[in-house]
Each structure stands twice: as structure tokens, then as C-alpha cells.
Amino acid sequence: MNKYIKALSLAAVSGALIFTGACSNKEASNESKKVDVASLPKAGDFSKKLDLNLSGSVTRGKVEDGNYVQKRLEKQFNVKIINTKADTWNADQVNLMVASGDLPDTFAFTTGGKSAQELYDSGLTRTIPKEMLEKYAPRYMKMLSENPPGIKMNLKEGTDNEYLQLIGQYAHVDGLAWGPTFRLDWLEKLGIKPPGEIKQVGPSGGREKIYYTEGAYTLEEVEEILKAFTFKDPDGNGKNDTYGLSPYNNQIHWSATLMGAFGIAPGYNLMEDGKLVTTEISKKYKDFLKLMAKWYKMGLIDPEFTTLDNNKSWEKYKQGKIGYYIAQPSYIAMDDWAKGRAPQNIVENPNSTAKLLATAPEIGKDGQQGEGAYIPVGNLADAFYVSKDVTDEELARILQIFDYINFDNDARWTLYGEVGVHSDWEGTPEKSALKVRPEYAEQEGNSGFWAYNFRTYDKERVSWFQSEYTSKVKNEFYAREDVKEKMLIRPYKWDLLNETKLKDLSKRYGGQLTTIVDEFRMKAIVGEVDIDKEWDKYVENWMNNGGRETLAELEKAPKVSDLMKK
């Protein structure tokens, strides 16, 4: 009987192997064919009806069939749209879609996925000929040419006219993404003067309790303020229960401007003593860590930060025990999407007596001031892909839809419907954000708003979703040209044009390098390691675990200053 069971098991496993082997895709190929653009229909010729399987890039798979935007697009471009009901924010779902190769005609995932090169090498995407873009997506090409080196980005290796992906314009992250804030009511109680002229962010809704200034404190002044916040009972409850600063353990944003005061930005690289180094092994970073360790030892940093992620940290801030917190301009302008986030959550309650002051980034000992640019080079980011099964004829139609909904601002209806019918201005018309009426789905659903669009925004588009208060503080300070020029820190080198093997190295060593850096940073701040004594060992460890290869490859990348030249 045992023999039979063994034979049966063997047959079962062999059967499974043969069955699944037969199901594998043996036809995958990443050879691109020459496209005869002249033989394709003229731009605007939609005489032939096409079926297209489209997806958006910030979508959660909630789109309903037959929605408002779908119907209008179908009519305008003579297509039948098949909706993709996938949550592009869900990394597992996205990864599964990619791993199975079951992808829509176009896709741009919010999370997960693979790089353009990996997707192409895997035979999942096709290239997009420059000639077709010039013919069918002229607005997109104009945007690329206005944002150098956009035209040169994402080209297939060895070509100058075939793109692996399309890219978006990120005007919404223009300028300083973060700035420090202080509890203004505490400063007033402690008799500490703001560093410059202060202005109210807005007249009501809690904004009247938030102020901002172009002035900045020096690091020494910040230390004195944090000391006063910690030890001089700023909340007046008679207890020693307040802290100057509360970082969080899952991200490094909390240190954006503090690191900026040392002239460094996390994840970037710089020249130090004539050598190319990454921030995390630079002497400046060591100095930053030493300052944080000093502040921790002095008791200025909330010791609980080691167990708090950013969400829990926001909750903790709301309890009114922390005096300093980092914030984006939209937070201090109290934009809807930022509700609940620190530090604005402290003034959300109408009865709150708290007041906030947003200042310019702290000034370091050599006058350094600023933070890492949100995008290392220029303001182009993100990726829009076209699936390998899309024909040239389909691509021609897709590009025309893409160009219209993402780069023609008459297509505002694809995001907000018609103003006065589907949405209304929040404040001053054309100067404030648009709000979709409650009877329509804000995104996807029955309206189909945002369901087919890509994350690309010029300044006008940004104004549709950014409150007028955010626009105001950005125009007056955070995104002012001279402020950007002076305060944005960029890496020394960056592989913008995919000329090196850095992506492969990051995939291979990223996990271990991040672990080494995170572990040392935490231990250094809480005083578990002596930074001076352990530093060389830490750097050596970093080097020996993929850092050396990473730096050697980074040497091959172009200088950012060269890439930025117009």
C-alpha cells in the first residue's frame, strides 16, 4: 500500500509541475519593434472604436462602471473604457498584479511595483516612441522640454527616442516641504521673542491661532527654547511633564530642518574632505547625531519616541506636552487632507487656547539653513507605464487621452466635474481649492473623478486642490524663488538617467544598509552607544555590507549641478 501512496504522491507532484509549467509565459520578450508613425491615424482621428483597460494613479479600486467621467471620455475619444478595480495604494495587491503579469493597458501605482527598467526587462511594459509622443501628446512633450533634463529621462538604454515610462510634473511639492513650528503660547508665556515679524495664516477655522515668520532661530537658540519648554512648566500645570521635541521611529522627516542646519539631507550624498560620501556616513551627520544625543541626555527629547510611529506621535502632540514639531505648509494652513496631523491638531478644537508659530529652518553654526529637496533633481517624478500588449494604434489613442486629461487644463472636469454643478470653490473663485459636492463621489465612485488621471500637476492644477492659505504661505515664503535657491539641499550626484547599477545595488543591499543606519541612529540618540568611539566601526560596517559598492557606483552618476543646467 505504501508503494501505491508513494507512486500516487509522485504522480501528483509531477502533474502539478507539468500543469503549471505549461501555464508559464514562454513568449515574454522585451524586444521593441520599429513603429511606423506615419501609418497611424492623425491626431484627433477617432473614427475607429477601441477598447481600453485604463487605471488611475491614486485610485483605490472604487471606480464604478458607467461613471460620469468614463461616459464623457468614451464619447470624446470613441473608446470603450474597461475600469481597473485595483487598490493602487495596497502594495500587496500591486505586487501581486505585477507578479502575475495581469496588468491593465496603462498603470501608475501609488505604492509597490517595480522600477521602469525592471518592468521592461520583465517583459511587462512596452516602450513609448518619442515620435508618437510628439504627434499625440504635444502638451506632455512641451512640459518635458520646459523641465530639463525631462527629455533625456527614462529613455531605454542605448536609444534617444524610446521611453520606458512617462513622468509627472510635481509642482505641488515645489519649495520647502517642511518647516519647524513652536508652541507660540508657550514662547509668549516664557517671554521668548519670535525671530521676526509674525503673520496670521488665516482669519478663522483655527488658522487665526497659527502664525508664520521668515525669521529663524539658531540651533543654540532652539536648544535654549527646548530647555525652557522642558523645564519651565510652559503649560502651567505645576508638573514637569513637557518635552521640547518628540521625534518618531518610522520616518526621518522629523529631522529635516535640524539636519539642514548641518547642511545635509537624509538619503542624499555630498563631497566631504574631497571624497564622495552618503549623508549617513558623513561627519556632518555624526555632528547632527551628537547634538541629538546631547539633547536626549539633557532630557529635551521625549524618551517615548522610540516606540512612537508618526501617527502615534501626532496623537501624543495633541495632548499638549510637546513644544516643537515639524510641519508641511499644508499642515499650518489646515488643509482638509492634513486634519488630525501634528502640529495643527492642537488648534483644531475651537476651545483650544494653543497657538503655533512656524519659522524658517533653524540656522546652523556655519550659517547653514534648509532641508533636502523633495525631489533630488528638478521637479519631475513618478511613473506612468504602458502594458506590453498595447498596440501602436491603441497607444496613439491612450496618449491623446493622457495628454488631454493630464495636461490640458480644460479637462478639469475629469477631476472635479463642472464647477457649479459637481463642485464649488472653497473660497475665492479660481484662487481657492475646489470642493466636490456631497452627492458626488470625491474620487472614483459614480463621478469617476481622478479615476483615469496621472499624478502630474502644474501650478494651476495645484491651485485646484491646495487651499488659498497654503498657496499664500508658499508664495510668501516656502516656495519663494530666493528661499528655494538658498535653502534646498540637493545631492552632489544622482543617477537620474539610469546610467548606473545603483537600483540593483539598492535592491540587493538596501535592507541591510537601512537596518544598520536606523539601528545606529536610534542607539546614538538615546546614548546606548558612544558616538565618537563607535563611529568608525559603524562606517566600516556600512561599507562592508554593500556601502562600498554603492559609493563606487554612485561615483559613475552625473553631478546634480550638471543635470540642473538648462
Binding site: A12, V13, A16, L17, F19, T20, G21, C23, S24, N25, K26, A28, N30, A91, N95, V98, A99, S100, G101, G112, G113, K114, D121, S122, G123, L124, D241, N249, P303, E304, T306, T307, K312, K388, S506, K507, R508, G510, G511, Q512, T514, T515, I516, D518, E519, R521, M522, K523, V526, E528, N545
Partner: protein, 316 residues
């Protein structure tokens, strides 16, 4: 002494015929068994084909079969990475501690629960002990972090009440692993006891009566009747638990740990999650999974063989 007729009756041909007759009689039952077997084949055997990607550079467009072989590159990477080796050590330490401390807890709990005479109290206790099992570690971790908080936690409240300095337990290497063990025990003790309670319920009451007649008290009945009666179940559960020795509690640790305790708490699953799955390396993650499974099956087979040699219990 067998007669010639008896010998003829037990020839293989007659045996096969008898088996077929039996099976024909019970064809309804065999048909019912076919359904789970097909399910097992589809969902547990066919996916095994995917193990191949542990030995390949997996490319979704090429599929499993056509992706190129990579000369055991993922395994070489595993054993050349000191952080993986540290994670392997942590996994084994935490898992062994859980086996030594957490594994016996439901057994003791079930035996003690069995001794409660007040049925209402017994049921309430049982229900309360099940509750944490139904909550995910996302929720439980928030509760655990609050309980051990240096500022709001009840434990630190008492420490400071008696003049001590608050301790950040969750960021302390020495206290983190004991917290893992205790909270795991708290979460699973009630649920884990169900199987032993069921086993206790099936003990023949005559055994207790006989023990009573021999003058055994409650404690002696517990030790000499209840425990030996549930021992086969304990052994099976122990062997199965050994098989998952390289699963030290991914959800629990992911939700509770932080870089300060990586040194003692970063296990294989959390490390691979950060370095493999988050970066879309399904092939690498499969290699790790395969390694874990091989260790698991070797342990199961070894433990089973040892136990079979010493007693009549075991899985096979």
C-alpha cells in the same frame, strides 16, 4: 499453525479484491473525501511549483519556468549577510523560549480549568481567556505599548510611586524579549487550551474512579490520570510546534519592535519583510521561506523519530 486454506485466503489478489469490495461499499464516503483531496492538490501541491523561484532570478514577464537560474545566489546572499544570521539567532532564541515557556501554559491552564467545579465561573474564565486571541496584534500592540509606557503605563506608575525612575521597557533589550513571551502567552493561552480541554473531556471517568478508590486526591488524579491521558495530544502538538520553530511571531514583533531592540528582536520574517518583500524580491523571500520549511520538516521528522523510539506516540 496456518492451514493451506487460510494461506490461500490471504494472498495479495484476494486482499486487493477485498479492499475493492470494501471501497465499493463505502463509495459515498470516498467520494466525499475526494473533494478535500482535490482542494489539497490544487491549493497545496500545485503552488509548490513556485518554490522554483527560490533558485532563479524571478521575472514576472518570463514566468516561473523561463526565469533564469541563478546558481543559488539567494542562498549565498542569506548566509553571507550578518544581519540575516543575527535574525536567525534571534528567531531560534525567541522560538525556543516560547516553546519552553508558552507551550506548557495552555496545558497547565486547561488542567487547572478542568478542576474548577463552579461551571459558571469556569465558563466566564474560559471566555475571558479567549478574548485576546480574536484581536490582531495591531490592536494588542497599542495596548501593550500603553501598559509599558514610561509616562502613562501602569507598571511605570507603580515604579515611580515607590520612588523608582520610569523604565522604557519597549526600548530596552533586556525587557523586550520577556515582554514578547508574556504577551504571546496572554494572547494565546485560552485558545490554546481548547484542544487540551477537549482531550481531557474524552478521558474515561472510570480511570478517575479507580484512582479515587486507590486513595488519590485531586492533585494526584491530575498528575497520574489527567496528564498521562492527554500526553499523546501534548506530544503531537509539541512536534507540530517544533516544525514552526523558525516562525517566532512576525505580526507580534513587527508591531512591537523598534530599531533599539533589533539586536534581540529582529527575526527572519521581519528582516526579510524589510529587505525582501518591501523591495519586491519575491524570489529572495521564497528562498528564505524554503529554508525555514526545510528546517521545520527536518525538526518534525527528527522529533517524531526520537519520540517513536521512546514511546508509542507520535504523528506517524
Amino acid at each position: 499453525m496456518q492451514t493451506a486454506l487460510q494461506k490461500a485466503e490471504t494472498t495479495p489478489e484476494r486482499k486487493t479484491k477485498a479492499t475493492w469490495v470494501q471501497m465499493k461499499k463505502m463509495k459515498g464516503l470516498y467520494f466525499m473525501m475526494l473533494i478535500p483531496m482535490v482542494m489539497l492538490f490544487i491549493f497545496h501541491y500545485i503552488p509548490m511549483y513556485g518554490i522554483l523561484i527560490a533558485f532563479k532570478n524571478f521575472s514576472p514577464g518570463l514566468g516561473i519556468w523561463d526565469s533564469p537560474w541563478n546558481n543559488f545566489e539567494h542562498f549565498k546572499r542569506l548566509f553571507s549577510d550578518f544581519l540575516f544570521l543575527r535574525a536567525l539567532k534571534n528567531t531560534i532564541v525567541i522560538s525556543l523560549l516560547k516553546i519552553v515557556i508558552v507551550f506548557p501554559a495552555p496545558i497547565i491552564f486547561a488542567i487547572l480549568l478542568n478542576e474548577i467545579k463552579n461551571e459558571k465561573f469556569k465558563k466566564v474564565t474560559q471566555s475571558i481567556s479567549y478574548l485576546p486571541h480574536f484581536m490582531s496584534w495591531v490592536i494588542l500592540s497599542a495596548m501593550v505599548i500603553e501598559v509599558f509606557s514610561p509616562q502613562r503605563g501602569i507598571i511605570n506608575f507603580f515604579i515611580t510611586l515607590f520612588g523608582g525612575d520610569p523604565i522604557n521597557f519597549m526600548a530596552d533589550k533586556t525587557s523586550f524579549v520577556p515582554i514578547l513571551i508574556l504577551t504571546d502567552m496572554w494572547k494565546e493561552i485560552g485558545w490554546g487550551a481548547i484542544i487540551y480541554l477537549a482531550s481531557i473531556a474524552s478521558i474515561d471517568p472510570q480511570l478517575y474512579e479507580a484512582a479515587e478508590m486507590d486513595g488519590a486526591g485531586r492533585f494526584h488524579k491530575m498528575i497520574h490520570v489527567t496528564l498521562p491521558s492527554i500526553m499523546p495530544m501534548v506530544i503531537i502538538m509539541f512536534i507540530l510546534r517544533l516544525g514552526s520553530i523558525l516562525n517566532a511571531g512576525f505580526d507580534q514583533i513587527l508591531n512591537l519592535y523598534n530599531p533599539l531592540v533589533y539586536e534581540v528582536a529582529d527575526i527572519i520574517d521581519t528582516y526579510v519583510y524589510r529587505s525582501g518583500l518591501e523591495q519586491f524580491q519575491f524570489d529572495y523571500a521564497t528562498a528564505v521561506g524554503l529554508f525555514k520549511n526545510v528546517v521545520g520538516i527536518v525538526l518534525i521528522l527528527t522529533a517524531n523519530a526520537i519520540i517513536r523510539r521512546k514511546s508509542e506516540h507520535g504523528i506517524w
